[in-house]
Subunit: 85 residues, 2 copies
Amino acid sequence: MISKVLVRLKEDVLDPAGRALTEQLNHLGFNEVKSAMVGKYIELNMDTGDREKQKERVQEMCHRLLANSLIEDYEIIHEVIEKKP
Amino acid sequence: MISKVLVRLKEDVLDPAGRALTEQLNHLGFNEVKSAMVGKYIELNMDTGDREKQKERVQEMCHRLLANSLIEDYEIIHEVIEKKP
């Protein structure tokens, strides 16, 4: 089962990459972009049969390694990949 | 309206960051992680009234700036933020 983790900076944390991206997009003519934020996207291919157990483990990974809870928030998306016949 | 863009390396592209993350997670005891991939997560706060128009514009941004189509795939998630009263 694949788990996707989205890690983003908290709202009040300075985001120079996001600011640079906003300016670049505006410069390219995408003036409707008011702000952009650049974070991390992590895909985990895991070998657990148990959906609930996997959710718990991914939470633990976020807490211990994937996200810095002082400055970052995270969101987890769980996806079931069906086996091809 | 917020649009979220997930940018990931194509399956056959070498991903040293993902490999290092897999090793690190295994080392921490998360042995059920078979592989990990590290990509970019971009959040765009946009000022378009029109949902369809926004989808089109975000596609264009991905094509022109956000993703390198030679080595990366992308996925777009559109989200409507309801205005608070």
